[in-house]
Amino acid sequence: MTKDPGRSGADARNDAAAAARAAERDRDLSLLLAVLLTLIGIALLGIYWLALNEAEGPRLADLALGLVPRTGVDNPVTAVLLNYRAYDTLMELAVLLAALLGIWSLGPAPAGFQRSGRALAAMVSWVVPLLILAAGYMLWVGGYAPGGAFQAGALLGAAGVIVRLAGDPSAGLPGEHAQRALSVLGVLVFALVGLALLWLGDGFLTYPPSLAKWLILLIESAATLAIGVALAAAYVGGRPATAPASTLASGKAGARTEPTGEGN
């Protein structure tokens, strides 16, 4: 059904005639699918209309908005993300970590990175500090206005992308150890706060109202750093090179070990 995503060009050239026939067949198939999916789309539109009609009342809106004063933050979306449904947000940080670990497991970042123009490099010196400042502002403002950990983390990640585009292959990220520690910071702090509250008798991820504001800020700060580092590291696209001085005996990670195809 799905084609091999990475076909080499060589065998594609070899059988041009067959390819042309296949292309024709693909066109027919894609047209057929288009008709089919149009019908499905129309049906789904009807269903959506039904769903809108079936709903009585404001769904969760009034309940969620009404309880915001007890969540420790004023921005309702932050209240949902970090209080009502904090468990989702914790797991979402885990998803980001899974992606990053998956990227790292494929080995070091590929070589062949090309530098961009001089103009960009000059821009970096003032854009990056600005982005970092903006991230801090975004994090703080998220308590009562649009913003929060994810937007702030994204700005940090964007700073990393710009640094890499300007010629630093490591996107301004620290060495391997620091990178590993920072990228799990969000999950670690979040889960530990949750478990500590369970231990203290409040219940898992159940903040006491008097502390809620500060606990949420703590979690959000950790999450911002983790998201920023994870996004920038994902953009780098490979395991970080180990700084040779700071480690004892891991010449392995830096030396481009080829995957050995264990057991295969």
Partner: protein
């Protein structure tokens, strides 16, 4: 916030909830720790694995002694917050998944000898484990989406760990299919939220039951089940499974085939029983049964034709998942009562047996592969002499896959056939029999190669750390589950399904 009078009950709730929370949080924390301290990964990972399995056993014991557990996180209104829940069915699957997980962890200690392999494996494996426990214990539809994505990403990353072209290609496809599947599921969730204004499974269940059946419910069900069917590799959406499972490292294949696919199936079952029971008619269940029958026949046939041991095991998973879907039309045709409970227990018994047996089979196959340098079935001669314990594990797991007595799947299949005859759906008996014959053929094909005419072995166990877990799992699938399946019925009596919150 908690009123003084309610404090005691809240404290008790906390204690009851602790094992559920720990079963999810321990592996998550473990993943963070093994990422941050890669050199200690095998040690930390093993400790966390033991702890997680302990939390899972604790969960099962808690459900066993006190009945279903329902925990609303955060102390908010149940419709607003996320709930965790464990009833008999969830507890049984959690127990199986975590015992298998522990065995896989021990096996992995011996399998991933190269440090950077181990450093990649442990954090991802613990994330996968957290996602599995999270899925079995979730009580919220959107939380299930996040868990599904976590499961999908971690599974694809683990599957590609060998770094070979085949593995990356197969797991990229697996990743993409999984993403389409979870978005399809999410669309169904969005429709349900639009109509009913909550994401909690218990509340939704009552809301759906209170309303007239509408096309909206049917559409949401279709979208969600279609997405999950893709993830559980239901025929004909199974195309991604054999290459992905066959190309992964052996401990990962074991986890993917025994646990990950089963989690998606479990969700279909839960949605079917908990949410959509009131709106279902026989035809929908019949369709699932037919697809299951296709899976049984096609999967077994392909397993018989497979040239490599791991590919055989992967196709056998397609077939075994098919068996589980055969139960849907029978459940739909059986009114609530003891015979329906029997069917449910049989279904669960087959799922659990397959979990243990397939994990044991893959782990043994991995040992054969590392020992012989290949896993071509035709060239397996002498394996019984070189790896007697491993061959024994394959034979045991194989007999559980066929459904020979006294394995758990023997009882499961027996009750399946009985149910088919009782409800007048005799054609499933034909499918079941054909599937059993085919599975006997593919298992004996492997064993006849492995037991070549060569001198008798000197030592039964050659590599304890790797062979014992495989052997244990196979033994559980054959002996423990078959001979001592009684407790399962008790545990299932503790179901909260349909009860609502």
């Amino acid at each position: 916030m908690t009123p003084e009078s309610a404090f005691d009950s809240a404290a008790l709730d906390n204690l009851l909830a602790a094992p559920l929370v720990l079963a999810i949080m321990l592996p998550l924390l473990g993943s963070a720790l093994t990422t941050a301290l890669p050199r200690l990964a095998p040690l930390l990972g093993t400790l966390i694995a033991v702890g997680t399995a302990g939390a899972a056993i604790w969960t099962t014991v808690a459900v066993w002694t006190r009945g279903p557990i329902h925990l609303v996180l955060g102390g908010w209104d149940p419709s607003l917050a996320i709930a965790l829940r464990a009833d008999g069915m969830a507890a049984a699957l959690v127990l199986m998944a975590n015992l298998v997980g522990l065995a896989i962890s021990v096996y992995a200690l011996g399998y991933f000898r190269a440090p950077d392999r181990a450093q990649s494996f442990w954090p991802l494996w613990l994330l996968l484990w957290a996602a599995l426990n999270g899925l079995f214990l979730a009580g919220d539809l959107f939380n299930l989406y996040v868990m599904l994505e976590l499961l999908g990403l971690a599974a694809a990353a683990l599957g590609a760990l060998t770094g070979s072209r085949d593995a990356i290609t197969a797991n990229l496809r697996y990743l993409l299919v999984g993403l389409v599947a979870s978005l399809t599921y999410l669309f169904g969730v969005a429709l349900l939220y639009t109509a009913y204004g909550t994401l909690d499974i218990g509340l939704l269940s009552s809301a759906i039951a209170a309303d007239e059946p509408s096309p909206l419910d049917a559409a949401a069900l279709t979208l969600m089940v279609a997405g999950l069917a893709m993830k559980s590799a239901l025929f004909p959406l199974h195309f991604w499974l054999p290459p992905a499972h066959a190309s992964a490292p052996a401990p990962v294949s074991a986890a993917l085939s025994a646990l990950v696919v089963k989690a998606a199936f479990y969700l279909i079952l839960r949605l079917w029983l908990d949410l959509f029971e009131p709106i279902l008619d026989l035809s929908a269940s019949m369709l699932l049964g037919l697809l299951g029958a296709g899976a049984v026949l096609w999967g077994s046939w392909q397993a018989l034709r497979a040239e490599r041991l791991k590919l055989l095991a992967a196709y056998s998973t397609v077939a075994q998942i098919g068996y589980l879907f055969l139960f849907f039309p029978l459940l739909a045709a059986t009114p609530p009562g003891p015979s329906r409970d029997n069917l449910l227990a049989a279904l669960l018994l087959m799922a659990l047996t397959h979990g243990f047996a397939k994990a044991g089979f893959f782990m043994a196959a991995g040992l054969v592969q590392t020992n012989a340098g290949h896993d071509r079935i035709d060239d397996l001669g002498g394996t019984a002499q070189r790896l007697p314990a491993t061959t024994f594990a394959i034979a045991l797991a194989g007999s559980a896959l066929i459904g020979l007595p006294p394995s758990g799947s023997f009882i499961g299949k027996w009750l399946l056939m009985q149910g088919a005859i009782e409800t007048g759906q005799w054609w499933w008996v034909v499918v079941g029999t054909l599937g059993t014959l085919l599975s006997a053929a593919y298992i004996f094909r492997v064993l006849s190669r492995a037991f070549g005419l060569e001198p008798t072995p000197i030592k039964f166990v050659t590599d304890a750390r790797a062979e014992v877990p495989a052997l244990m799992l196979s033994l559980v699938s054959v002996a423990v589950l078959g001979l001592a399946s009684g407790p399962l019925w008790t545990l299932l009596g503790l179901n909260a399904s349909g009860g609502g919150a």
